[in-house]
């Protein structure tokens, strides 16, 4: 049986890739991609810890991993919809989605 550490390693690597994407890129698209990768790694973590939980006693224990996963997916969908709306609005005003061009509030 694959032990817990394997899943944690993979999710750690995915989270690192997401963090790198967020802080190294200048356009808003890549930042959104990084956020999605981080959320996915969080779901893998939740699922792995649920799987290796020794007790499946109550009804909530049986499904807590997939339940949290589904709610993370719901939040990710909402976040993506709103942030894409913001992005298109910013594109209309600035003709760009690069984060170093959109600096109206810094001035």
């Amino acid at each position: 049986m694959i032990s817990l550490n394997y899943y944690l390693f993979v999710s750690g690597i995915l989270a690192t890739i997401g963090i790198f994407s967020i802080i190294s890129k200048n356009n808003a698209f890549s930042i959104l991609i990084g956020v999605e990768l981080i959320l996915n790694s969080a779901i893998i973590n939740f699922m792995a810890f649920w799987r290796f939980n020794p007790s499946f006693e109550t009804n909530l224990d049986k499904v807590s991993g997939p339940l949290v996963g589904i709610f993370i997916m719901i939040v990710a969908t909402c976040e993506l919809a709103v942030s894409l709306a913001i992005l298109i609005k910013a594109y209309k005003n600035y003709r760009s989605v690069r984060t170093d061009f959109i600096d109206e509030m810094k001035k």
Partner: protein, 174 residues
């Protein structure tokens, strides 16, 4: 050492390594490239491969949900928004200083998460043979619709709010 190889060449391990290859390599490609087209297409493989992990963790339900939500909705939404924008305004490299500093921050996380957090900890439930709950969908339905129905209501309200907010935000002003 010999025992290690015998243990690690089983279908479960081989499929785990294959899935890890499918997940991590395209994720790296999508981060390294400056072309967003390539990034979005390689993200398809990443999201699809992650559903394989859920199959290995005995949750087929979440695997199907992953394919439907991430590949079918989120990725298509990203590609659709990408098509609405002009391609040449997305181009442009970030500064070399920012790239180097962000590489070092990511390297720090890469060292910190596996070696300082995961390997140093002892998990109580590890390596135990676990009885598989084979009625996940049934338990989830009972939980969401009877016991904890407020969760489902809140999630529905959140989705509705996001929908209304997004469509209000991009409404054309007169």
């Amino acid at each position: 050492m010999n025992n290690f190889f015998v243990n690690h060449i089983s279908p479960q391990y081989l499929s785990f390594y294959l899935i890890s290859l499918i997940v991590i390599l395209p994720a790296l490609v999508s981060v390294m490239t400056s072309d967003i087209k390539i990034a979005l297409v390689s993200l398809f493989f990443t999201f699809f491969g992650i559903s394989g992990y859920y199959v290995l963790l005995y949750s087929e339900f979440l695997a199907i949900t992953q394919v439907v939500v991430y590949v079918g909705a989120i990725l298509i939404l990203l590609i659709f928004a990408f098509l609405l924008l002009d391609l040449k305004f997305l181009k442009g490299e970030s500064k070399i200083k920012q790239k180097i500093s962000s590489f070092f921050v990511a390297l720090m996380f890469f060292i910190f998460i596996p070696f300082c957090m995961i390997l140093k900890s002892t998990w109580s439930g590890e390596n135990k043979v676990i009885n598989k709950p084979n009625d996940i969908v049934e338990s989830m339905g009972a939980l969401l619709l009877i016991d904890e129905f407020i969760l489902l209501e809140v999630a529905g309200a959140l989705l509705l709010l996001a929908l209304i907010g997004a469509s209000l935000m991009i409404k054309r002003e007169k």
